[in-house]
């Protein structure tokens, strides 16, 4: 098992290096000079070359990349051109919010999708209901669902706050109350996709020989479902959860905007709109790294659940 983990981990580092280099090259030279992007369309060539010199954009790309990487490894991503804050402090305050939101949503929707689909017998009305809910929740646009939930629960019934982020320091209850609607909105989408993936796999495992044997032994339907089918059909869901969590390092843009959450997605979009290249670069690199690492974790979890994977490698 340790061998397996090490083998996978060794491959992650070079991948991150190559991908962040590509990102760096695209942003700093292939799409035009960052000075021209930041100074805007009517910038004079003199102003652009002055800025190029001041920020070292004239140096060879490898040298620039190494300089950026070295600083980034020490946690220094430079300063935002728009807000003049350090990029690391901007990310430091926004990332935990997106990660908390993402973890809640993924865990909740993952457990709900796997649990409901395993426990509710298919063919019954309740089974069809789950399929219907999955399809609806995946097709309703997030902004519409979010706005509808706000209207029903915050404006009409007035049970919950409409928006905003309450930090833990405001009290646990307040914190959780503010989280309910955004987490519900985000979970709805993931519930749909997790549920569909799980059902497809579940159906293919359901009729395999070992399952029929378990049934023939006289085990209860619940036990067959949870002990025999579930472990064998949950793997694709876990892989997908890993990828999803990685993606969510880039923030859940729509949910963050609808609920005015100061997460990383909102920061990312503002940076792209304002050509704020140090911020785009830093968040891009974090998303890449996050995807790689969560993928690795998902692989490890799968190997732990499924001996075939860890033995065959």
């Amino acid at each position: 098992m340790i061998r397996f983990v090490l083998k996978r981990a060794i491959w992650v580092a070079p991948n991150i290096l190559i991908l962040t280099f590509l990102l760096f090259a695209i942003l700093t030279s292939w799409l035009g000079s960052p000075s021209a992007m930041m100074l805007g369309l009517d910038a004079s060539p003199a102003a652009i070359s002055e800025m190029n010199r001041a920020y070292g954009f004239d140096d060879p790309i490898i040298q620039q990349y190494v300089r950026w990487l070295w600083a980034a490894l020490q946690g220094d991503f430079g300063r935002s051109y728009a807000t003049k804050q350090t990029v690391s402090s901007m990310i430091g305050s926004a990332l935990p919010i997106s990660i908390e939101l993402g973890l809640w949503a993924i865990c909740l929707s993952g457990f709900a999708a796997v649990g409901l689909n395993s426990l509710i017998p298919r063919g019954k009305i309740s089974g069809s209901l789950i399929s219907a809910v999955s399809v609806v929740s995946i097709t309703i646009p997030n902004f519409m669902l979010g706005a509808t939930l706000v209207y029903v629960f915050a404006i009409y019934l007035r049970w919950l706050p409409t928006s905003a982020w309450a930090p833990w320091s405001d009290g646990i209850l307040d914190h959780l109350l503010h989280l309910i609607l955004p987490v519900a909105t985000l979970s709805a989408f993931y519930f749909g996709s997790f549920s569909m993936i799980y059902r497809a796999e579940y159906r293919s495992v359901m009729n395999q020989l070992f399952v029929r044997v378990a049934r023939a032994k006289g085990l209860s339907a619940t036990r067959v479902s949870l002990q025999h089918i579930l472990p064998n059909s949950v793997l694709p869901v876990i892989t997908f959860m890993g990828i999803t969590l990685g993606q969510l390092m880039g923030g859940a843009v729509v949910t963050e905007v609808v609920f005015s959450l100061p997460g990383i997605g909102r920061t990312f979009v503002a940076a792209i709109r304002g050509n704020d290249y140090p911020v785009i670069l830093a968040i891009g690199a974090i998303v890449l790294t996050g995807m790689m690492v969560t993928n690795l974790i998902a692989d490890i979890v799968i190997a732990w659940i499924n001996p075939q994977v860890r033995l065959s490698s």
Partner: protein, 512 residues
């Protein structure tokens, strides 16, 4: 049926408007109540810095005018009032402004506000390294800042520039603490220190900006509110829902359509005293629009009332000039280009324009510009012209107007407290905002004369003459002044929007 519904909706919004009068009258009888929190909704908050020297975004100004005071203030009819400057004298033929400052004013960090602080504030904006957004505007004008005494400061100018006072009522006049600016350096934008009625307490970017009452504010007894909170909302519609349940007290930047969502039992829609000036512009120094008859023909083909109905629900004001009525410098509108397709066709014939040549009309992507382009395109097609609508991204649009690669297009400007601000900028042959190539020696002379005298009635006459010439020569087709609204909870007292659209809540209070 359709018409009936539209009428009914108009009636409801008119009712909402009517409500604004009784409460402002009753507000004068009530005694102000201290305390409470006023919540303001900001749509898609773009705030990036609270350093007035660097500020570009309009959203930032909503907050800046509470944290800082300006040297000069504007009134509801755009007349200039004292603020941090108690009084001023204009000397040396309009090339020297001497300000007497309020005494005993302290910044929020306890350091004194005096002539040296004013000098530092202006010089810092002129400093190349600061990259101030006001540098381009001040640099050609300011020759030197002179400390006459601790409470008297003089601005020496390179030339006559009557807009100086208006500029000092805007971003360039917001005074920040030199000590704090040097202490925080690049982080000042997050740690603002001014002399204003409120101090920054908490700023969670993208969620809320919380300001608290400045207990040592130099105007004794003000402000009444304990705090002002700016909350980010994803859209005006969702913001108005929150106004309805009392979560938000003030939502600005609403169009007439959005005011229909307002429930008059809880909320009042207040119209901004002055709307943006919308126009069409073209390059008059080159073909095809150097043909004056063609320009007049197009101007007569445009039905401005229809544009007003469609864009602003009829609540805008038709413009027969650059600046709205009712300001100290506005002269009465002379009837401009009446809508007359017949006249337009006759002028078109006289112009000798080849009807098979297409005219390119640009359509910037912002919603109101885009609709104006579509409507104008439709209307000039009706007199037999061939029109190509050519889309351009809003972010590129103005840069391309300046480069002259966008020719015939809608444009819009906000009115300024001094007429020189817009007239000289757009119409003088050397004006920095002259993108039409318009050059008329008589207009140049009148505008220069407008800079050289200080008597307001005399100046108003000069700008009136310019307005008449512009209406004849059509470097711009004046369309209309827009209608902007602010939704205000009925609990908010003693507050009304100002013409520059920056809220100043220091005298506002909230009923229990």
């Amino acid at each position: 049926m359709n018409i009936d519904r539209r009428h009914m909706m108009k009636a409801t919004s008119a009712f909402a408007l009517a409500l604004s009068t009784p409460w402002s009258a009753s507000a004068q009888q009530e005694t102000p109540r201290s305390g409470g929190t006023l919540t303001v909704g900001l749509v898609n908050d773009n705030t990036k810095t609270m350093d007035p020297r660097l500020s570009i975004q309009l959203d930032e100004r909503q907050v800046l005018f509470l944290l800082y005071d300006t040297l000069v203030a504007v009134d509801r009819n755009f007349s200039l009032q004292p603020d941090l400057a108690k009084s001023w004298k204009i000397e040396n033929d309009g090339k020297r402004y001497v300000f007497t400052l309020q005494e005993g004013v302290k910044f929020q960090d306890g350091t004194p506000f005096d002539a040296a602080a004013v000098k530092w504030n202006i010089e810092s904006r002129l400093d190349e390294k600061v990259l101030s957004s006001q540098r381009a505007q001040l640099l050609p004008v300011i020759a030197s800042i002179e400390i006459v005494s601790p409470s008297v400061v003089a601005f020496n100018l390179n030339y006559q520039y009557p807009s100086l006072l208006a500029d000092l009522a805007d971003r360039a006049g917001l005074m920040l603490s030199p000590t704090a600016a040097q202490k925080f350096g690049q982080d000042f934008g997050r740690n603002p220190v001014g002399t204003g009625a409120f101090v920054l307490k908490q700023w969670v970017q993208g969620t809320n900006i919380t300001l608290a009452r400045n207990p040592d504010y130099w105007r004794k007894g003000e402000p009444y509110l304990d705090s002002v909170v700016f909350r980010t909302v994803p859209s005006a519609v969702l913001g108005l829902q929150r106004v309805g349940i009392g979560e938000i007290d003030v939502m600005a930047n609403l169009g007439p359509a959005e005011t229909k969502l307002i429930d008059p039992r809880t909320t009042t829609a207040m119209k901004l005293p002055i709307g943006r000036w919308y126009s069409l512009q073209w390059q008059v120094d080159r073909a095809p629009f150097n043909n004056a008859k063609l320009r007049s023909a197009i101007a007569h083909a445009i039905d401005r009332n229809r544009i007003n109905q469609i864009l602003f629900d009829g609540q805008g004001t038709i413009a027969d000039g650059l600046t709205p009525q009712g300001l100290w410098y506005s002269s009465p509108f002379k009837p401009g280009f009446e809508y007359s397709p017949d006249k337009a066709r006759a002028l078109l014939k006289e112009s000798g324009w080849n009807m098979s040549d297409p005219i390119t009309l640009w359509a910037p992507s912002e919603a109101s510009y885009n609709r104006i382009s579509q409507l104008v395109g439709e209307q000039i097609q009706a007199i037999g012209l061939k029109v190509n609508l050519s889309p351009v991204a809003q972010s590129e649009y103005y840069a391309r107007v300046v480069q002259k690669s966008v020719n015939f297009t809608p444009s819009s400007w906000a009115s300024r407290a001094d007429p020189d601000g817009l007239y000289y900028f757009l119409l003088h042959s050397k004006g920095t905002g002259n993108t039409t190539g318009y050059s008329n020696p008589q207009v140049d002379r009148l505008l220069e004369q407008g800079r050289s005298i200080t008597d307001q009635t005399e100046r108003a006459k000069l700008y009136g003459q310019v307005q008449e010439i512009v209406m004849q020569e059509v470097p711009y087709i004046c369309l209309l002044f827009g209608a902007d609204y602010v939704a205000v909870s009925n609990k908010v007292r003693n507050w009304a929007p100002s013409p520059d659209s920056y809220p100043r809540f220091r005298r506002a209070w909230k009923a229990a």
